[in-house]
Amino acid sequence: MTQDIPASQHQTAPLCVGDRLTPLIFGPISRAFLARYAAASSDFNPIHIDSDYAKAGGHRDIFAHGMASLGLLSRMILQNFPDGRVTSLSGRFTAITKVGAIITLSGTIRAIVPRDQHLLVRLDIQSSVPKHQVTIIGQAEILLPLPIRSA
């Protein structure tokens, strides 16, 4: 069994518990992007690509696939740790992302756990749109080979 190391005990510079990852700013979300994401993911739910259908469901317009934002969160993580491998990723969807929105993908190191010749870094992650509206709150784990090479 592994155990999280409190911030005061771990010696894994340059990483520290509480460090913020370099955020990824993505967008504005376009209809073309949603069509491309639908094709690449095979998620053809018309609520994301057909305005008439979205309006019939009570929405003002189409909105982005939530899974696109979760996928972009994984990109943000991998851009911060190019040698790492994401071993878990989860998110709770709290708001939709409208067409035209600019998404900010961000993360903070919650824990660092030594594991064999690696470090397992636990992250709190978040996706948000302008006016600080959070669209996803989640967690992730990434396994990093030692020595660490940050982006």
């Binding site: 989860s90 709770r92 969807f93």
Partner: protein, 153 residues
Amino acid sequence: MTARISAQHRHPKGLFNHAAAGQHLPPVALTIDQRAIRDFRAVLGLDDGETAPPTFFTFLDAQADLVRQQSGQPTILEHIGCDYRYLLHGEEEYTGLSEMRGGDNIIVHSQIGEFYFSSNQQLEFAQIQHSARSPAGQALIQARRLYIHRLPQ
């Protein structure tokens, strides 16, 4: 687009087919397409690496549904009676992620979990669990997907 399910199976207060709770779907064997990985990575802006990104399982889930459709079986969302007009993602969880690459053979197992409502009865939830294994039985990923109907008032 409303998934095929007769009205008699709908929950009286909701839209999902609550009778599907606990149902195991037949496993589906897939071979991962390297081009699909490349396209998925590209749309997210990832470099042109060979490994499947963490959320690539959503594509595999869709592919498994395609196999079901082609063999005359209902898709998962048809099993649970989803109405796309009101459908939202609630939560997504991917754990035990192993590296998957083009050409890998996998077997997708899926089970329909529980259905429930928010306390104000305005949201209806459906939970689906998946796992993917190699033909030798090695666990490659476990996924939990929570779907929501935002119920028309």
